[in-house]
C-alpha cells in the first residue's frame, strides 16, 4: 500500500517539475491572478529582458486595489477619470500590459470585474487541486476550493509570468480540526477570528493549514473562502479545505470551469484529492466549535480578539512581556481602556466588504439584520462594497441594495475599498470602524484609523446601535 498523503502533499507532488538537491523544487503554477499594484514592475522586467508570458491562457488580470468604488462611467457611458495620478498610472499600466502580453483582462466597467480573490472562484478560474498564485497575501482564500494558493512578491510574479513555475521549498502541514458545529448566529468569520485568537498570528508560520471537521463539510463555499482567506493572519502561507460535493456544485457551469466530458473527468480527479485516512500532519490543533461566540478585535493585531460580550483585556493579563507592551500600545492607538465592556464601544464608520466578506451570503447576512432598520445617528459613514459586479447584480436582483440604502448605507461599485487606505475610501484619523475586512493593523484603513474586525452580521448590528453589539440580541 502506498503511504497515506495529505491534500497538500498530493497537490505538491502533482506539480513538481524538477527537484533540486537542496530540497527546493520547481513547482508548476496552473493559475496566475494579476492586479494593478504588484504587477507593473514585473511587466517592466519582462520587457527589459525581452521575455514573453509563457502561458497567457493561465493568467487573468483585473484591477481592484486602487479603483475608486464610486460610479465608473458618466451618464454618457464615458470613463470617469481617476483623481489620484499614481492610482491612475497603475490602473493604466495594467490596462496596457494585459493586452500587450496577451492576457485576458477584466476592465473596471465590466460586470465581471471585482476583487481578485472574489472573481477567481466566481469565474471558475480557481479549481480544486490546482496551484494558484497572485501578488497579494490573501490569495490564501482560494484554498477554500481545495486549490494550493498563496501570495507572492513582484519578482515572483515576473518569474511566473516568464516560466509558469516557482522555485519553492515545501512547507510543513498543520491540521486545524474543529469539533462540533457553530451555534445559531455564529458565522465563519467568528470561527476564523476565534481560531487566530487561539493559535496566534505566528501559529501557522511555516505551515500550510488544512481546516478539517464537520463544520467545514457543512459550510458553504462563501464561508470557506472567509476562513481560508485569513490563513495568512494565522501566520500560514496557505489554507486548504478538502473539495467535496459542495465545491463541485459551486463550480459547475461557471464560465472558466471545465464543461461536458471534461467536467466529469475533472470531478473524478478532484474526488481523489482529500487527505487519506491515516495521513500525518506535522502539527495538529483542535478547536471546540461550542466555544465560538460572535467575535471582535480590540487591538491592532488580528490575534487581539475577544467575544463581543467580553471586556477589553488588561495588558498585564498576557504572560509574555513583549505582548504586554504591544497590548498597551494597541490600547493607546485604539483609544480603549482595559476592563471596558466591548459593547460600550461606539463606532462612527461601518465597512462591509473586502475579499474576506463581500460575497452574496455576506451581503444577505448583513441585510437580514438591517431589514426595516436604520443606522444609528452616531454612525457617520456606512458603506457596502460588493466583491464583484456579479455579486452586486445578484444582490440587486434580491433587493438587498434597497435594504442597505434604506438603512442609510452607501451602495458602491466593486473593489478593495476601505480594506486598505490605498483608494479614496478611508476611515478618518481617530475614528472607529466596524469592518468585515481582515487586517486591523495601525493605519490599515487610513492614517490613525481604528479598526474592529468582525462578521457582516455583526457590522450590520453595530450600524443599527452605533456600538459594538452582539447581533444575536437583534435577531433572536
Amino acid at each position: 500500500m502506498t503511504e497515506p498523503k495529505t491534500l497538500y502533499q498530493k497537490i505538491w507532488d502533482a506539480h513538481v517539475v524538477d527537484q533540486r538537491d537542496d530540497g527546493t523544487a520547481l513547482i508548476y503554477i496552473d493559475r496566475h491572478l494579476v492586479h494593478e499594484v504588484t504587477s507593473p514592475q514585473a511587466f517592466e522586467g519582462l520587457r527589459k529582458a525581452g521575455r514573453q508570458v509563457r502561458r497567457p491562457d493561465l493568467t487573468l488580470a483585473v484591477p481592484d486595489h486602487n479603483l475608486p468604488t464610486t460610479a465608473r462611467l458618466d451618464m454618457d457611458g464615458n470613463k470617469i477619470p481617476i483623481a489620484d495620478p499614481q492610482s491612475a498610472a497603475q490602473l493604466e499600466a495594467l490596462e496596457a500590459n494585459a493586452p500587450a502580453f496577451g492576457i485576458k483582462y477584466i476592465g473596471a466597467s465590466d460586470i465581471n470585474q471585482g476583487i481578485v480573490h472574489v472573481i477567481g472562484p466566481e469565474q471558475g478560474f480557481t479549481l480544486p487541486g490546482c496551484t494558484l498564485v497572485c501578488g497579494d497575501s490573501h490569495t490564501a482564500a482560494h484554498g477554500a476550493l481545495g486549490a494550493l494558493a498563496f501570495g507572492i512578491g513582484t519578482s515572483e510574479v515576473e518569474h511566473v509570468l516568464a516560466t509558469q513555475t516557482l522555485q519553492l521549498t515545501r512547507s510543513k502541514s498543520m491540521e486545524i480540526r474543529v469539533d462540533g458545529l457553530l451555534g445559531p448566529g455564529i458565522s465563519p468569520k467568528d470561527l476564523i477570528l476565534h481560531i487566530i485568537g487561539v493559535i496566534g498570528t505566528a501559529g501557522g508560520t511555516g505551515h500550510v493549514i488544512e481546516y478539517r471537521g464537520e463544520v467545514f463539510e457543512q459550510m458553504s463555499i462563501e464561508g470557506r473562502l472567509t476562513v481560508s482567506n485569513m490563513s495568512i493572519e494565522a501566520g500560514a502561507r496557505a489554507g486548504l479545505i478538502a473539495p467535496d460535493a459542495t465545491t463541485f456544485e459551486y463550480l459547475k457551469g461557471r464560465p472558466m470551469a471545465p464543461k461536458g466530458a471534461d467536467w466529469d473527468a475533472a470531478v473524478e480527479y478532484w474526488k481523489t484529492l482529500p487527505t487519506d485516512h491515516g495521513a500525518k500532519f506535522d502539527k495538529s490543533v483542535t478547536i471546540n466549535a461550542a466555544d465560538v461566540a460572535p467575535t471582535v478585535t480590540w487591538g491592532t493585531s488580528p490575534e487581539d480578539v475577544v467575544q463581543v460580550t467580553g471586556n477589553v483585556p488588561a495588558p498585564l493579563s498576557f504572560a509574555d512581556p513583549s505582548k504586554q507592551d504591544a497590548a498597551q500600545k494597541s490600547l493607546d492607538y485604539m483609544g480603549l481602556q482595559s476592563g471596558q465592556a466591548m459593547q460600550d464601544v461606539a463606532v462612527e464608520n461601518i465597512f462591509i466588504g473586502s475579499c474576506t466578506n463581500s460575497r452574496i451570503e455576506d451581503l444577505r447576512a448583513a441585510a437580514n439584520v438591517l431589514r426595516d432598520r436604520k443606522k444609528a445617528p452616531g454612525v457617520k459613514w456606512a458603506i457596502v462594497v460588493p466583491g464583484s459586479g456579479l455579486v452586486k447584480a445578484q444582490a440587486e436582483a434580491e433587493g438587498l441594495d434597497k435594504i442597505f440604502t434604506d438603512a442609510g448605507f452607501e451602495w458602491r461599485e466593486p473593489g478593495c475599498s476601505a480594506c486598505l487606505g490605498m483608494n479614496p475610501d478611508k476611515v478618518p484619523s481617530g475614528e472607529r470602524c466596524a469592518s468585515t475586512s481582515n487586517r486591523n493593523f495601525v493605519g490599515r484603513q487610513g492614517p490613525g484609523a481604528r479598526t474592529h474586525l468582525m462578521s457582516p452580521a455583526m457590522a450590520a448590528a453595530a450600524a443599527v446601535t452605533g456600538k459594538l453589539t452582539d447581533v444575536r440580541e437583534l435577531t433572536n
Binding site: 520547481l26 479549481l127 513582484t154 519578482s155 516568464a162
Partner: protein, 197 residues
C-alpha cells in the same frame, strides 16, 4: 541581471542599526509603476535633515553602503532593493540583514554582505576617507590599508551573482522539463486549461 564580480569605490559610513524598509523607501513610493526613479525616495526622511550623510558630496558616487545590525527589517517590499539600486548602491555591508531583505537583494543583483561587528566598525573608519573593495571571486572585502575580511555566501548565490544569472534564466534552462510537465497535463487533465471566455 548584470554580473557582479567586483565592487570598488567609496562607501557611505551610515552605521545605523535596525534600518527598516520604511526608512529605506517610505510607503508613499510604493504606488509606482517602475523600478526606476525610486532612488529619489530612498532614505527620504533622513535626507530631509541638514548635513545628512547621504547628501554629503564626499559620498556622491558611493557604490557601497555600510549599515548596522538587522538591515532591511520590516515589510517584504522589494522596493527597498530597487531604491538602493536606483541610487547607485551595488552592495550593502552590515553585521546582519533581515532574511527577506537579503532574498530580495539577491534577486535584484544587489550584494548583501554580512561581516562581524569589528570588521564593520573598521570599514566604517576607512570609508570616511578611502575607498573599499569587494571581490566576489575570493569573497573578501579589502581596504587600501591591507585589511582583508572574508565573508560567506551560499555557493549558488555566489555563482548567480558572478555570472549575472537571475532566477528566471536559471528556470528557463529547465524549459524542457516544464514542457514535459505541460504535455503530460494536456493529455491526462485537458480540463486544466481554462475554457476561453
Amino acid at each position: 541581471m548584470q554580473p557582479v564580480d567586483k565592487v570598488e569605490g567609496r562607501a557611505i559610513p551610515f552605521g545605523q542599526k535596525n534600518v527598516d524598509t520604511d526608512v529605506i523607501i517610505p510607503a508613499k513610493w510604493l504606488k509606482t509603476i517602475s523600478r526606476e526613479g525610486l532612488g529619489e525616495g530612498a532614505f527620504e526622511a533622513i535626507r530631509a535633515q541638514d548635513g545628512n550623510i547621504f547628501d554629503d558630496p564626499d559620498y556622491a558616487d558611493a557604490s557601497i553602503l555600510i549599515a548596522g545590525d538587522n538591515f532591511g527589517c520590516g515589510s517584504s517590499r522589494e522596493h527597498a532593493a530597487w531604491a538602493l539600486d536606483d541610487m547607485g548602491i551595488k552592495a550593502v555591508i552590515a553585521p546582519s540583514f533581515s532574511d527577506i531583505f537579503s532574498g530580495n537583494a539577491f534577486k535584484n543583483g544587489l550584494l548583501a554582505i554580512a561581516l562581524p561587528q569589528e570588521a564593520v566598525d573598521r570599514l566604517m573608519e576607512v570609508a570616511k576617507t578611502d575607498p573599499i573593495s569587494i571581490d566576489m571571486q575570493t569573497m573578501s572585502v579589502t581596504t587600501p590599508f591591507q585589511d582583508r575580511f572574508a565573508f560567506e555566501m551560499d555557493a549558488f548565490r555566489q555563482k548567480c551573482l558572478i555570472e549575472g544569472l537571475d532566477e528566471i534564466d536559471l528556470t528557463m534552462a529547465k524549459s524542457d522539463a516544464i514542457e514535459v510537465h505541460e504535455k503530460s497535463i494536456d493529455s491526462s487533465q485537458p480540463w486544466m486549461t481554462p475554457a476561453a471566455v
